[in-house]
Symmetry: C2
Subunit: 290 residues, 2 copies
């Protein structure tokens, strides 16, 4: 680490937040940590997040351009957002994902499956929502619900959900092989901070619509959810599709971290600009004469 | 008009940019005008556009909340973006529409229709893309292509396209009656400025991918396109679904104007926050005890 606090950590954020391989316990992750954050804290974080905008915008436009000019060969990005209620999936979309040109984003919010969706394999609706060439897909919840809420609430028997981890690994390996970079983010909020955020929603009439009495009931199942998250983070943490745990008790850190991960992964694509498929000098003359 | 240049015009922008009823000629609109702009010009415009963000964000969240809590009664917004090549439909999305939370936006870019789309009525694909309750729909091109490029290029005979103006009016009246506020924007770029922008794309290798030699050929049809635009603006300019012409030779004005129109139309919905459908005091105790 540099002595200069304003400098970025020398290790990329993706290394700092990557879930280590091996057994996982959610107790190992501190929801209030701020690994890799190069600034002072809350006071400068919104500015630092916004300051990532121009670079993200430039990199994403290269990706978009590749999608438009060579769709068969263009990479794709897929950001998977998972987390308990109030962890801030919506906040991340509003503050980090909004740095990307809306034209380049394919956003899907997965709710409880419809009757039609339930009549298909659980990956059916997921496959339908995958990002197009050159696009950044955002999944607000995802196929992981099929090993999270489904497991905790016993919506299907164990012999149905337990093979899904392997199946998800195969599915994600297939996506990666097809040129999709996966950024799977578990927004890690603490049990105590969730209580604070629910209480805040009740204090503020402009937030009542976000409050659902069922959220309090779900808190009784917190340990079961943590166990289910640990299983998903442990079993589906491949090099092709790694998991990142984003400490999310501090909203400013959470938003910055997702934006920085996005920047890092876009930069790693190493994309240039598509070459002209026309004679530039000829066209210059044609435009001048037009 | 106020003597203080920094004050907003007393007339809302929607009045200043509204196409007057009666005969329309595109020559009546100055593409380099800046009606209603309250500031100095280019120097402060990006800041003024960005400064609309918090109010747009607050208003749009009310709309979104209505969509989530009372979907059957929630209003919707639909921004229709039309304009010649380089007029800046993409730029408006990147700089103005991006002020809205991505969760609240349903963006559709209409390209040349596919074989399947052509096998249906031309409004079929349009209806499929209409915004959901509480959403802001953005159409990058729209059903107006069916009386613009289709008319200019004679893609169907006149007796097919000419009844479409009435049909579009009926369709839009139906949308308005169902609670959709339409904001139809014609981004008005001049023939000369289009030449400059095409030339810029050729000068800058990072913009080559946006250049299409066919765009120069299309310039030969400029008068025919202006005639087709005038017809659409004249025949489909109803109170339920009015047209706005956005002077677009100055990108900074164009972006600010669309953002300000959006702010004005969102504010006109007069939305409050949904009332709680639970006992707030009871829930406060439940959260504290959880």
């Amino acid at each position: 680490m540099s002595a200069d606090k304003s400098r970025k950590s020398e290790r990329p954020l993706s290394e700092l937040l990557r879930v280590p391989t091996g057994p996982v316990s959610m107790a190992d992750f501190d929801p209030s940590a701020t690994p890799g954050y190069p600034g002072e804290g809350k006071a400068d974080a919104d500015g630092r997040t916004a300051a990532l905008g121009p670079e993200i915008s430039d990199l994403q436009e290269r990706l978009y351009a590749a999608g438009r000019t060579t769709p068969d060969a263009a990479p794709r990005l897929l950001v998977v957002l998972q987390g308990m209620d109030t962890s801030g999936k919506g906040g991340v979309i509003r503050h980090a994902i909004s740095l990307i040109d809306p034209q380049g984003v394919d956003l899907t919010s997965f709710k409880a499956p419809t009757k039609e969706e339930l009549s298909h394999h659980y990956l059916w609706r997921i496959r339908k929502a995958l990002p197009g060439p050159g696009k950044v897909g955002i999944f607000d919840r995802s196929h992981y619900e099929d090993v999270l809420v489904v497991r905790v609430m016993s919506l299907v028997p164990e012999d149905v959900w337990s093979p899904r981890y392997d199946e998800i690994n195969e599915f994600e390996a297939e996506l990666a092989a097809g040129g999709t970079t996966l950024i799977k983010c578990m927004l890690n909020v603490s049990f105590e901070e969730q209580r604070n955020r629910l209480a805040e929603r009740l204090e503020d009439p402009s937030k009542h619509w976000k409050y659902n009495p069922g959220d309090v009931d779900a808190r009784k199942l917190w340990p079961a959810y943590m166990e289910a998250y640990a299983a998903a983070l442990e079993k589906c943490n491949t090099d092709a599709a790694p998991w990142y745990v984003i400490p999310s008790d501090r909203k400013w850190y959470r938003n910055w971290a997702v934006a920085e991960l996005l920047r890092e992964k876009l930069a790693a694509l190493g994309l240039g600009w598509p070459a002209a498929d026309f004679d530039v000098e000829v066209e210059k003359r044609r435009v001048t004469d037009s």
